[in-house]
């Protein structure tokens, strides 16, 4: 069971790494914030799997914090969403 949970966590981590590609490619800033959402949910999943794999309930508190803070950060970044035709090299 522990090995299986770690394997599942590895899989979710790989998915998150693939989501990073969307951050780099864009093209709109809103796409990048989408990826942050994926990484937030993926991070929560990884932490919950780790909590069950290592039988450490305290890790669920980290997942709770991550859920709250990922939302907060997405809202903060959305103040700055610019139109996709504006230059982004500033």
């Amino acid at each position: 069971m522990t090995s299986f949970l770690f394997a599942a966590a590895i899989f979710v981590l790989v998915m998150e790494a693939l989501g990073l590609v969307r951050i780099l490619r864009g093209p709109a800033d809103a796409d990048r914030i989408l990826s942050v959402q994926l990484i937030g949910s993926g991070g929560v999943a990884v932490l919950l799997l780790l909590s069950a794999a290592t039988q450490t309930p305290a890790i669920m508190d980290v997942a709770l914090m991550l859920a709250l803070l990922a939302t907060f950060v997405s809202v903060a970044f959305l103040r700055d969403v610019r139109h996709s035709d504006e230059p982004t090299n500033t």
């Binding site: 899989f11 979710v12 693939l18 709109a28 997942a63």
Partner: protein, 97 residues
């Protein structure tokens, strides 16, 4: 009994991870921000939800199980609202280009 519980966990967590994969593939391959957003909501709802259901039998006590469920509800709720905000931002910038 323990064997049946373990099988349940394996099946649920695997299905959840499959939905994670589906959402990520959608994020990478769909042509437009709004379609990618639609793919991503599957991750929050079904992906995390199935993983949480699979981990419920492994949780320690009623409090642990409640915490797992409330984390899922929180991620769903905030994910849904932030998705609406992202869609609104995309529409506004689309209208002005």
């Amino acid at each position: 009994m323990k064997f049946a519980i373990d099988i349940f966990t394996v099946v649920m967590v695997s299905s959840g991870v499959v939905f994670f994969m589906a959402g990520t593939v959608g994020l990478l391959r769909f042509p437009d921000t709004l379609t990618r957003l639609h793919a991503l909501t599957k991750v929050d709802n079904l992906g995390l939800g199935l993983i949480v259901f699979g981990l419920l039998p492994q949780a320690q006590g009623l409090l642990g199980a409640l915490k797992l469920l409330s984390i899922w509800v929180l991620v769903q709720l905030s994910g849904a609202i932030v998705s609406q905000l992202i869609a609104q931002a995309t529409q506004r910038s689309g209208r002005q280009t």
